[in-house]
């Protein structure tokens, strides 16, 4: 029984194909201004990677910002339920899921079956989101990996306010002009982001295990900064699992459940 999940995010789009409990394929690609077309492309790439034809897929669920435009999906589900369900698949002990997405940050609270209990979102402001780090990396003229690696070089972190990314950006420019070392600035940025994310997590109520999903979770510097802020270790996904596909995986799992419930074999 084959199910698929397509997650159209603001910056990246993902697709996952599932056979029972086995992930046949997962693809990540850049989002475009035409979510409908992006959804079809990413889904075709995943089908090719899994080596199966579209006809064999029993149920498809769309999620993410552009979920309404996933024309070929049977239904669409909000990314909150999908991230909760996807994180629970790999980490049944997870109770708090922090999705640091491209445009917003979500703190999700789930029960032992991965059902969505509560959520808090920070969607009115770019501070504390993937977009914030993206802007800063561009400001400092660095690639994503180089940016993350510098977090672990020595140097006291600079204090950067976390109220607004526009304020923060001008502070970074000023620090660079004053000759502050890049690792110190990057550490300060990661702490500023972690501060916003920690505040959101505390608002929804932190219950162990805590896990971060979304593209930013691949930045070890952010993981380290959030762990310091929350004062506890974060759960990690098994090796080889990309935290950015958790939303699409959750959508695929929900597709599988709905297929089984509606008797499609």
């Amino acid at each position: 029984m084959i199910a698929a999940g397509v997650d159209i995010g603001s910056t990246a789009s993902k697709a996952v194909i599932l056979d029972g409990d086995r992930v046949l394929a997962s693809r990540i690609g850049p989002s475009s201004t035409n979510p409908g077309r992006t959804a079809r492309e990413i889904f075709q790439q995943a089908l090719a990677q899994a080596g199966i034809s579209e006809a064999r897929v029993n149920f498809i669920v769309g999620t993410g910002y552009g979920r309404a435009q996933v024309a070929f999906a049977h239904t669409n589900v909000s990314e909150l339920s999908c991230h909760g369900r996807g994180a629970h698949f790999y980490l049944p002990a997870a109770r708090t899921v922090l999705d640091i997405g491209g445009q917003d940050t979500k703190a999700i609270c789930i029960d032992q079956e991965g059902n969505l209990l509560d959520f808090v979102m920070n969607d009115k402001c770019a501070a504390g989101t993937g977009r914030f780090l993206e802007m800063m990396a561009r400001t400092l003229g660095m690639g994503f990996d180089e940016f993350a690696a510098m977090h672990f070089q020595e140097g006291e972190p600079c204090v950067i306010g976390n109220m607004c990314s526009v304020f923060a950006e001008s502070e970074v420019i000023n620090l660079v002009n004053e000759g502050a070392a890049l690792p110190r600035i990057i550490k300060g940025l990661h702490q500023s982001l972690a501060g916003r994310v920690a505040a959101l997590a505390k608002r929804v109520g932190i219950e162990p295990e805590v896990v971060i999903t979304g593209g930013v979770a691949k930045n070890a510097g952010v993981i380290d900064a959030v762990e310091k802020k929350l004062g506890q270790k974060l759960a990690n996904f098994p090796p080889g699992v990309d935290p950015q596909i958790i939303g699409a995986l959750g959508a695929a799992l929900i597709a599988r459940d709905q297929a089984q419930r509606s008797g499609q074999t």
Binding site: G161, M163, S170, Q191, G195, A199, K202
Partner: protein, 389 residues
């Protein structure tokens, strides 16, 4: 090769700088050494309408609560949301994160909605043993004065009850004379900054003013005397383009004023709660001490929370503006502060008939967006110079 021996008599400028650095360090340290030495239980408070004399007379160590160097206020943000005053969030975070664990208690005032809610969180979530409260009225009528006096008496009973002390009339009078000395020294330091040939910068004055709320009076007076002596002999400041006065909401960071002055503005006077307004005029000790304190504190230059008292604050501002020979006003406010936000509206309305140049700066507590401030202040100074020229 060891550097040339330092001449024994460092130029006075150097001595004043050292003493100021010492004061600066004193206000940075979360737990003031004076508290450890004096053995007095430390009680934190929030507002300039709370007479520190009451705590001194109770044998306590009055410490004005600040956000200190708490980098991030995430535990404060979690409870107070990112839509409230960052000062309130930083102070709450400092208490919740244990920076103020040495406090024997805190006294809150209904200054504003933000601090009222910060107090709710401290009462519910912090481990502090004592939570006092002072409800300060928002007007100067006789019935409101008697309410304020009644509140001071209730606070006095609450302190006596919790700390098992007796606040005697003599103790209050002694405390008043001590704080009057502090006010006298601040007056002298103020003249050194306001005079024709200023010896001290606005940042130095704010450092001293904040120190006056962190140190015990005796310790402050001793340091202030040394500073006054050193400053009188020091060289006058150079590089001053225009003299300004600084007013607005909460500001307890000398670094911020230093950034303003780095562009050539000289903050010759201020109406800041942490600055010289908060200390007010000497207390007239005649009559019962508590009533004397109530008169001095309630009728100081009013804070913006005093409904209907804007004309009184406006007159004080115009008087200060003239006394300091200022050319412009710099108004600073923490983002989301509503009480001071509306002051800009009231001032702008008055400036339609009596124009005075004003620069409005919004800030976030705990960080100085130096880049932005430098640009704005420099442009403001150029405007003042153009107007003058």
């Amino acid at each position: 090769m060891s550097p040339a021996p330092v001449p024994d008599q460092t130029p006075p400028k150097g001595l004043a700088r050292e003493l100021l650095a010492e004061l600066g360090a004193a206000i940075e340290a979360p737990k003031p050494e004076g508290a450890i030495r004096s053995g007095r239980p430390v009680v934190g408070y929030f507002c300039s309408y709370l007479p520190a004399e009451l705590l001194l007379a109770a044998g306590l160590y009055p410490l004005r609560l600040r956000g200190l160097s708490v980098e991030d206020s995430s535990s404060g943000d979690a409870y107070l949301s990112h839509l409230t005053c960052s000062f309130a969030r930083h102070v709450t975070a400092a208490v919740l994160d244990g920076v103020y664990d040495f406090l024997a208690g805190q006294i809150a005032v209904n200054c504003c909605d933000h601090l009222r809610r910060a107090n709710d969180v401290l009462v519910a979530k912090s481990r502090l043993a004592y939570h006092g409260y002072l409800s300060v009225p928002r007007g100067f009528r006789a019935d409101l004065f008697s309410w304020y006096l009644e509140e001071l008496a209730r606070l006095q009973d609450s302190l006596e009850d919790h700390f098992q002390v007796k606040i005697t009339e003599a103790a209050l009078q002694a405390a008043i004379s001590q704080t009057n000395q502090v006010r006298g020294r601040m007056q002298k330091l103020d003249e050194l900054c306001r005079g024709e040939q200023p010896k001290l910068s606005g940042a130095d004055l704010l450092t001293a003013a904040v120190a006056a709320r962190v140190l015990l009076p005796a310790e402050f007076v001793e340091k202030a005397d040394a500073l006054i002596a050193a400053a009188e002999k020091a060289e006058p400041l150079s590089g001053i383009r225009s003299r300004v006065i600084l007013m607005g909401g909460e500001l307890d960071d000398p670094g911020y004023v230093r950034t303003l002055e780095s562009q050539g503005a000289h903050v010759a006077g201020d109406l800041l709660c942490f600055g010289r307004r908060g200390l007010g005029l000497p207390v007239d000790p005649s009559g019962p001490a508590l009533a004397a304190l109530a008169r001095a504190y309630l009728y100081q230059v009013p804070c913006a929370r005093m409904m209907g008292e804007f004309p009184r604050r406006y007159q004080a501002m115009v008087k200060l503006f003239q006394e300091c020979g200022a050319k412009g006003i710099i108004f600073t406010r923490i983002k989301f502060c509503q009480i001071w936000a509306n002051e800009v509206h009231n001032l702008r309305h008055r400036f339609e008939s009596n124009p005075l140049p004003m620069l409005v700066l919004e800030r976030e507590y705990g960080t100085i967006s130096t880049g932005q401030i430098k640009t704005r202040v420099q442009a403001f100074l150029e405007r003042l110079e153009r107007a003058e020229g």
